[in-house]
């Protein structure tokens, strides 16, 4: 449920799915990633700007026999709407990568991530807005000397007042 935070602010919770192509160096490990996104956006009445939080998790299972990979991130960012439909966002925050190789080793690396999104919002039901969009994210894990580069699509649904 959207929550009034006082003085015209509204918080819109959202949930969605995303799918990315992985390229660059990290493409040597996996060429895709897909998962879920939870989020919340705080908006002021009448302003095109919003502040947002996004939590992504993308499990990957095609990295090898008995091996699994999961990418997760928590980002804060700003969002801007142009008109009723077009919306763009820039986020930055922390990331984690958990890689397990059967019973041999499980290792978690931490890093930082930045992403940009461009989406198209439309009303799908009363108090319910969907966004389809594209995004690009770069992540650097402290143990690596390369960036994880991902580009993909997302679909999310947000509850509005």
């Amino acid at each position: 449920m959207p929550t009034a935070t006082g003085a015209g602010w509204r918080v819109e919770p959202s949930a969605g799915a995303l799918a990315d192509a992985v390229f660059g160096n990290a493409g040597a490990l996996t060429q895709w990633a897909a998962g879920a996104q939870l989020g919340a956006t705080a908006r002021r009445e009448g302003s095109p700007w919003g502040l947002r939080l996004r939590l992504d998790i993308e499990p990957v299972t095609d990295v090898g026999p008995g091996a699994s990979l999961a990418l997760a991130s928590a980002r804060l960012g700003v969002e801007r709407a142009w008109g009723s439909h077009l919306v763009g966002a820039v986020d930055a925050g922390g990331a984690a990568r958990r890689l397990s190789i059967s019973d041999e080793l499980t290792h978690t690396a931490i890093g930082i991530e930045a992403s940009v999104e461009l989406g198209w919002r439309f009303v799908v039901a009363r108090r319910c807005v969907a966004t389809v969009g594209v995004r690009y994210a770069e992540t650097w894990f402290v143990s690596d000397f390369f960036f994880w580069k991902r580009a993909g699509a997302l679909l999310s649904v947000a509850l509005t007042r």
Binding site: A26, L29, A109, D144, F145, F146
Partner: protein, 446 residues
């Protein structure tokens, strides 16, 4: 699918440069040595204007490049070698973090005229930029002038060794890969491997490529086959007629082919230590115990060697080495007594290469006074006796390292003249089961 030649976002060296830039901003800008420059087909050698350069340096660099490139099947692009005046100049002016040298792509920064480890990095710069454990492992492994001792360490600790990275672990891992797949496959993996310290990322790529669990391979690395540096050993051979050849220690090397188990005598007019190592698997960890003392007027290394090709290197200074080989299979004290070595007036080294060092090697030396004895390789077991020990028990008057060594790892024998009997062997309790070279140096006491 793994791309054959992944692009690199940024290199480990970038971090070093950032540190260097910050240091330069805080402490004044450094400058690259470029007062004089030598050029050869594949090298540009930059030095301070007042530096006195070895006229043979470019030929040695080219020879080293040819040796490595030919063996591994890579073709290195032109290399810039920046020679600093000394450690102080290097520390103040180089873009490297605190060290004795570093490499950025095909640029080497060092204050040694030929820094073999960094040169290997530069020679492989165009082949890829793999996980750090592979980069450093190769630089340790591909050594002709300064062989390094590898080691798998505790197998269960391999993730930490990858993360470190542990250079010795990397050296043994490179040895395993070359033994398993040969140079061509290794170089392909070198290009494929991502630049990372993450043990899981590295293990995933390693296992996809080699088809072996890294945890299992880490257990295999205990094997002595994977413990040493390796050199193609294409340097010129020491003349068989015993005539001497001069070169700068730690900058060059020579080779010796030994047809059968032999006594190899290396006479060095320069006085400093010289010693042989097996080209295929140099199980010598270097004479790191050797105190820095003035050389005597001449020295002799008497080595017990098996069949094979050996590299011959010097510890410091300019060496002038002549060789003599004598086939010998009986290394008992009694056999040594029948053929004593004249060690009067010069430093003498008793040496046993790793392939034969697990057995006891006796040598009889003719001396004329007290000697200071330095243990040269890790925990060599040795004795110095006035006579051959009897089977009934220990001979009175023998000294050994375990009971008499000082904290500096040397002992001083009492005044002795005539024949003394020296035995050396690898101490099996130290690094079991790895066979290592064993050696002691009997210096003429002042």
């Amino acid at each position: 699918m793994i791309p054959l030649e992944p692009t690199r976002a940024f290199s480990p060296w970038t971090f070093s440069v950032l540190v260097g830039v910050l240091a330069a901003l805080l402490g004044g800008c450094g400058d690259l040595p470029d007062g004089q420059q030598l050029e050869s087909p594949h090298f540009r050698y930059h030095a301070r204007a007042d530096a006195v350069l070895d006229p043979g340096i470019m030929e040695r660099l080219e020879r080293h490049r040819t040796e490595i490139d030919t063996f591994y099947g890579v073709e290195s692009g032109p290399i810039d070698y920046y020679l600093y005046r000394d450690r102080d100049d290097f520390t103040a002016s180089s873009p490297c973090p605190p060290s004795s040298g570093c490499t950025n792509g095909r640029s080497v920064y060092a204050y040694a005229p030929l820094f073999e480890h960094e040169l290997v990095h530069a020679l492989f710069a165009d082949a890829g930029e793999p996980a750090l454990v592979v980069q450093e492992g190769l630089a340790q492994y591909a050594a002709c002038i300064q062989p390094e001792l590898g080691g798998g360490g505790v197998p269960e600790q391999w993730p930490g060794n990858v993360e470190g990275p542990d250079y010795a672990f990397g050296e043994s891992l490179v040895s395993w890969m070359l033994t398993t797949g040969g140079p061509t496959r290794f170089v392909r993996f070198y290009g494929d491997s991502l630049t990372t310290r993450d043990p899981a990322v590295f293990a995933l790529q390693f296992e996809r490529f080699w088809g072996h669990r890294l945890a299992d391979v880490a257990g295999e690395l205990q094997d002595a086959r994977f413990a040493g540096s390796s050199c193609p050993c294409t340097a010129p051979a020491l003349p068989a007629d015993g005539s001497a050849v001069s070169f700068t220690a730690r900058q060059d090397y020579r080779t010796v082919d030994v047809a059968q188990e032999s006594r190899l005598e290396l006479r060095n007019g320069g006085g400093q230590l010289v010693y042989p190592y097996a080209c295929a698997n140099a199980l010598v960890d270097g004479p790191y115990y050797l105190p820095d003392r003035p050389p005597s007027s001449g020295s002799l290394t008497v080595a017990h060697v098996g069949a094979g090709r050996y590299g011959v290197i010097g510890f410091s200074g300019t060496v002038s080495i002549g060789q003599k080989q004598t086939a010998q299979s009986d290394w008992s004290c009694e056999a040594a007594a029948a053929n004593p070595i004249d060690a009067r007036g010069r430093d003498v080294t008793a040496w046993a290469t790793a392939d034969v060092a697990s057995g006891q090697t006796w040598m009889a030396l003719r001396l004329e006074g007290p000697r200071t004895i330095d243990m040269l390789t890790a925990e060599t077991a040795y004795e110095v006796c006035p006579a051959c020990p009897t089977r009934a028990g220990p001979t009175v008057g023998c000294v050994d390292f375990a009971s008499t060594a000082t904290s500096d790892n040397y002992i001083v024998t009492p005044p002795a003249s005539g024949i003394v009997f020296v035995s050396v062997r690898m101490n099996p309790s130290y690094f079991d089961p790895l066979p290592l070279s064993a050696g002691v140096r009997l210096r003429v006491s002042p």
